[in-house]
């Protein structure tokens, strides 16, 4: 790390900070100019870095501390330059084929689940989504069918052959959900729920980690590192929009994050244009944009009758709209030299 000292730092203070760092085993490089004095410190261990940065910043004669190395390792591109492909039953995520995940926001009944699964399968989806445990801002809203919902989702998998993905919110439910799901989903509200991340890191079911709505790309990769550092390497990242001042859309889909992550990390990346926009009429163009920018797939919400959906009706596609999305998406998939 680089430590920029105040203009009026004294020799004694420089000696103090130098001794402080050397006592922790770091190599020091001093560069003293007329206006600025800079210390380069090399060799901090991973578990020292955050701590050291805070400590140095606490010194009154330190102006700024600039970290040099990235705060994640296992999920960094260098760790696996060729990229990661995750296989779930016979579906690959992160390979040459684009992966489409579709299904209702929330599992509501057997009938709607089977109808939706059958339609999205026929229209070309690869993975079936459906929520059994639902986070809700309002304490008075529907919170999902729980294990009964998981059973309906598994039945829809049996009926269609599609692997299933579903959210887990409670660390105590991880084992239960792993008993049904092919992929666990961590929602945006739980990206910094380290208790949950730790439990999922100990599981052996692949996980899709949604970006926190106000988390930087670097923090997102640290959350992935949290899971990976506990042994679960099968991580899919999911960009789902960030919170900005714009109010016309529910979130601002961060398309920059897609190529940025492709360069920073080896993990596959899925786009969620439903949450990324919050408006069904924007889902298809943004899905196409995401794949054109390099996403490995998209996740969308589909409902037989969005105007009757228990959640997220405003951003859900009808069957006809989903079919239309698949058609437009296929053209883009081929244009980027991939398959679908």
């Amino acid at each position: 790390m680089i430590i920029i000292l105040n203009r009026d730092v004294t020799d004694t203070q420089i000696d103090e900070v130098r001794a402080f760092l050397e006592a922790r085993g770091l190599g020091i490089h001093l560069s003293r100019g007329v206006e600025t004095t800079i210390l380069g410190a090399i060799g901090a261990l991973d578990d020292q870095k955050a701590e050291l940065e805070g400590q140095l910043a606490a010194l009154t004669y330190v102006d700024r501390v600039v970290p040099i190395s990235k705060p994640y390792k296992v999920v960094a591109r260098q760790f696996r330059p060729q990229g990661t492909t995750i296989r779930v039953r016979d579906v690959e995520i992160g390979g040459s084929r684009i992966c489409v995940m579709a299904g209702p926001c929330t599992i509501e009944s057997e009938e709607m689940m089977i109808a939706t699964a059958t339609h999205v399968r026929e229209a070309g989806a690869h993975i079936l989504r459906g929520g059994a445990f639902k986070p809700s801002t309002s304490p008075y809203s529907f919170h999902g069918m729980g294990e009964d919902g998981l059973k309906l989702l598994a039945a829809a998998r049996d009926a269609t052959g599609m692997p299933i993905i579903t959210e887990v919110m409670d660390p105590r439910d991880v084992e239960l959900v792993c008993g049904y799901a092919d992929i666990l989903q961590v929602g945006t509200r739980n990206m910094t729920n380290f208790t949950l991340l730790r439990e999922i890191g100990a599981a052996r079911t692949p996980v899709m980690l949604k970006r926190g709505w106000a988390s930087t790309i670097e923090e997102w990769l640290q959350a992935a590192e949290y899971i990976a550092s506990r042994g679960n390497y099968d991580i899919i990242l999911c960009e789902r929009g960030i919170r900005t001042f714009e109010t016309y859309t529910r979130n601002t889909f961060d398309i920059n994050a897609i190529p940025a992550l492709k360069s920073l990390s080896h993990l596959p990346i899925i786009a969620d244009p439903a949450h990324g926009t919050g408006r069904w009429d924007l889902v298809t163009p943004v899905a196409c944009g995401a794949v054109a920018a390099g996403a490995d797939g998209v996740m969308v919400e589909v409902h037989p009758t969005p105007a009757l959906a228990l959640k997220d009706g405003a951003q859900s596609l009808t069957f006809a709209n989903f079919t239309a999305l698949m058609e437009r998406l296929r053209a883009i998939v081929h244009a980027v030299g991939r398959d679908c």
Copy 2:
């Protein structure tokens, strides 16, 4: 709620949406103008509202849905116009006295805990803080001493007579932490961890709910409602800064939120200028500003030697700085006609 329809809506569509709402027991009020057609819908139950808004927005001929009533009730000012005072041992929060919570970010050892507790007590603090379970963006950082830390914190309470506050992150730890703490703390990363909120709602220990770093005031009050709706009414709100484009400070302390909450809710509100700024040199002025704007107290981080702190050194006060803060704060407290 108010439903604004597209310009080119047909009579059949108006009949459809009207029938949809009437079937759910809502009263309808139609106002058809040349340019706009508006439907007022009155009488939705609390557990229908979010659902209905999403469903209506899914109709292609609906332009926008505008909610009228606030999505929280128990924590709203109308529910208890005189305001809430929470008593913790012999300390009151939300009454005429300003409450100062102080202590180290993280419990590191018995020695530093007792030294810090003794100092902040003498300088005038009312409640002792200290973290035993710590959320950390990096998986490689220190995560707290756990129950051993709670024991040291309780010992410091015994030594000084100050009630203690500490964070709980895992729903499975709520019972354990309630066995030690006088006030539970929910951190910014867990404001939308509904699993944890539900567990805390079932406890009978007072709780301080920090604002999510990118949560609106309305969402924050809904999180408080989440806890209250399960029976725990002793809730303190804590403004700790929000995430913005500004990079000089770690967060932007939202001083507007203080008088806004005083008008919207009856709950006490505490300011956390340490996280709200991320810089020790800004803590005291912002603490004073918060109390001048109506906060019921402040929480700050104090460490014998911030440059050796295991966490948050950059925003921790030395003993001398804390003493100076108390002096400046007292003048403000008296200026607003309160006591300290």
Copy 3:
């Protein structure tokens, strides 16, 4: 507009606000419920609306004022449902062909200008960009060559046959710049410079209006309305990224804005992935994403040697990178059924 009154509003207060509105010629619709009283007011003139909303919000018994109609007219989609195509010499913007604008950030010399123009023309660009008047955050930076730069730009047009676009910052320079440019550019820093917008509204040269870096889509369309309401209808919108908490990229390119604007307005929309990302390695994927999402074209910065560029080197493409971009872009253009 809709006026939501406080719960405890009195009959006298309702009469007061009603009289207030009726005196201004508005029709009133009162809906009084147990919890809420709502007034619908219909018929405000365009030049009354903003004023009335502020005035009503000033009444202590008004909770909120909700505008119904959009605050722009001439640039709204309904005004010209078929969309607008702008013709500049023999190039069309907003038609079936995608338009590529390319060139250096800043005009530096005749040699680099001609070399760049020739290369981008050969690689397939349609319009040549180059800055003669440059806004700079630092007072000490280069501010452009001024009219000498305009002459070099015009010479490059003569040499290549490409229409030219260049920024104007000072209302006093509008006439001068119109003497050279085929398209005027309003930069992000000047989107709310109403003095400049007024002057450009009076000109008859087409204009490309960049989005303010923290302006909503609605405010952006109002700025366009500002120009159009003074008689200049040839307006191109340019999405160039908004300011968010993310620091890895210079801005967050708002891809949602592209389909949103296609639905709200009839004006053509160009994507600027150079400013939208601030990193040359992200320019091509985001350019492709923007066109896949419906943009009518892209603007990029090209420099013979970005590492010698006087401005924006970090986001400028080399000649080879621009050629590669064109190749990838063409595949996307065809996938969306357009030409290039």
Copy 4:
């Protein structure tokens, strides 16, 4: 500045960047580690820095460029450690007395101007504000009375003895407005209007520079440097809130900026809680908070009847509310050891 190179940088590349910097007269300091290679470059001239940073970032083997020195000089605290006091007629800004600027948002008529000026003067205000040239998001709104308004403002100065402050938007109006105003105001929408800043830098009338609603503290100080570098040193900074995701308030008043600026710059700082909140009921608490945090004064909007105000009614104080504000503010002013 510090240049962090990619892991796989070659010796030839290092030589290239070193030669590049040395050719520009910079001293180089190379620190090559196993994981990272870092170059420290010392001695860049002010007018080279921004340029060099962009150029270096354009090199494919450069990971990041970290600027060390601040991009402003004349307005930095070091330039005048004792702070700046600006005298306008017999009022001082930035000295030991807190300065209150009050008056209507917009000058509407002689009667309201005199009535308001008289009231705020009696209640204790020091400087009279009033807008004659008004920026308006909507092209259809009222844009101010122009020079006629300036005459009414000057008449109110004659009647009350208070110096006057008013906004200038058009560089062509600077001379005209200087003929009337004691202090020029640059609005938030024009903080990056460099054409205007340049003109004001050439004037000799003091200026109050409002922060751009999405400008960082560093960019704000650079805008001040823009003015100062042209010879006008009498600059007052005005924090007026920044744009965030929060929608309950019009802006988020950035209280952190107040002590931050006191440490970074020697210029006086005024708080504008009216725009900073957008709600009249939050103006007084936030004004008190700002002064408690170190502001040198406040600016508020006062109107005889806010519900009839042509602009900003929602955030304007009635006469009674202004009197109440002054009373609460005085207590805070004394608590921070200043006068009013």
